[in-house]
């Protein structure tokens, strides 16, 4: 017996989106999967729920955890059985991180990505325009082009002297 049968499709899908807004990225635990922009579609039918996810980086080790936590959250919301599909095109971009997500990143101490447009922003030009998430100074320097996860680079604020991570535009 599927719980989804008791709800209209719209209500069930709204419940699914609400459930996914509670599932955090395993490596940035203040950013929900919805705010990260990896949930590309939710379809509730008579025989369960299909979720379409897009991976962030090709090699991101969180991809499998994200699929598992998506499945678990929707089952807990009574929307199982759940089928998770991965979709590569169109490729994920940091432009899909919501404004709520950007604010959550900033409060967490990670400078959110700038908009990258279609061609991708030249990284060397970006380096000086990343405002410090703590004091908002743009007097910053990049310490490392890569960071603790595939999506981040390491910066230091020259005004407040705090190091911070930057979510790279992709």
């Amino acid at each position: 017996m599927c719980g989804a049968e008791l709800l209209s499709r719209e209500a069930a899908e709204a419940r699914a989106w609400a459930a996914l807004r509670e599932v955090m990225d395993p490596e940035v635990p203040v950013l929900s999967l919805v705010d990260l922009g990896v949930v590309r579609g939710v379809h509730v039918g008579a025989d369960g729920t299909e979720v379409v996810l897009t991976p962030t980086y090709s090699g991101c080790p969180a991809t499998e955890v994200i699929a598992e936590s998506t499945r678990a959250a929707l089952e807990a919301a009574g929307l199982g059985p759940v089928q998770v599909k991965h979709q590569l095109a169109p490729a994920w971009t940091t432009d899909w991180i919501t404004d709520t997500g950007r604010e959550a990143l900033r409060r967490y101490g990670i400078a959110p990505p700038g908009r990258c447009g279609d061609e991708g922003t030249p990284v060397r030009l970006m380096a000086h325009r990343v405002p410090c998430p703590r004091c908002e100074s743009t007097q910053v320097e990049r310490l490392s082009a890569f960071g603790s996860t595939a999506c981040k680079a390491l910066y230091r604020c020259l005004a407040c002297r705090e190091p911070f991570e930057h979510f790279k535009p992709l």
């Binding site: 090709s58 090699g59 060397r124 992709l170």
Partner: protein, 269 residues
């Protein structure tokens, strides 16, 4: 159950070969870069090289999965990575050349080789993925569009290092010139077109390697000029990894890469 001696009998149509060449190049490049994990000269570069390896491995996984689907007998990415033998790998010979020096008697070891390798490979991948975005194969086009975003960043990082070393001290420039001389004999293979390339170009699957020559040379020459270096002269030698005939190094890479799944067939964790 898979056994230790299992060897895959693959149906190598031209499209399967075409995708495997790219997949294997990404996989072996990732494996070489991953050897630096915990050993790079500075922490930032250790993290950078591991990240480059991770992206490249992710690209290899997507490409191997797709090659397996095209091959059609139900082998997955793991079977292709772990159960093929040396002659069944179709990577560019360049990416199997040693980077790190694991012991005093081993080849390789100059960090300039790594910096330069990253530029040469990222420039090739960039030229290739740019064109593969328009592939008649929608899955391959999707993998390319995604991977292109990643290799652009790799290219910028590598180019920054090549300029830093080439236009650095006499010693850093000398070492980068030596690295160029070591790498260059393997460059010709990046652009030799054969019947696999011709079939891919004819069907719209992807560009012939010959089409990558001009954009690659333009991009690499621009970075070398900024680094105050000259590209070496072409050599008559053409390596043959993409035909399955490799240098002496690939077997050692596979011995390490494949040890676990061959020793413990079917093992999971």
């Amino acid at each position: 159950m898979t056994t230790v001696s299992a060897s895959l009998e693959l149906r190598l149509t031209p499209p399967v070969r075409y995708v495997l060449r790219i997949a294997d190049t990404a996989l072996i490049h990732a494996q070489r870069l991953a050897e630096w994990c915990g050993h790079a000269p500075v922490l930032e570069e250790d993290i950078a090289l591991s990240n480059l390896a991770l992206d490249s491995l992710g690209q290899a996984r997507a490409l191997l999965t797709h090659a397996a689907a095209l091959e059609g007998q139900g082998f997955g990415e793991d079977a292709l990575a772990f159960l093929r033998e040396e002659h069944q790998f179709l990577n560019l010979t360049l990416v199997e050349q040693p980077l790190r020096k694991p012991s005093a008697h081993s080849p390789g070891g100059d960090f300039a080789d790594t910096v330069l390798r990253n530029l040469l490979v990222a420039s090739w991948m960039k030229a290739l993925f740019t064109r593969l975005q328009g592939s008649s194969d929608a899955s391959l086009a999707a993998i390319a569009a995604k991977s292109l975003k990643e290799v652009r960043y790799h290219h910028q990082h590598a180019a920054g290092w090549v300029v830093r070393l080439g236009d650095g001290t006499d010693e850093s420039a000398r070492r980068l010139r030596a690295a160029l001389a070591r790498a260059w004999p393997y460059v010709a293979e990046l652009f030799v077109a054969d019947e696999v390339d011709a079939a891919a170009a004819a069907s719209g699957l992807g560009p012939s390697r010959a089409e990558l020559r001009e954009p690659w040379h333009a991009e690499v020459a621009a970075v070398l000029a900024e680094a105050k270096l000259e590209p070496p002269a072409a050599t008559p030698f053409v390596s043959t990894g993409t035909l399955g005939r490799h240098s002496e190094h690939l077997g050692f890479i596979l011995a390490e890469l494949q040890y676990l799944p061959r020793r413990y067939p079917g093992g999971v964790w």
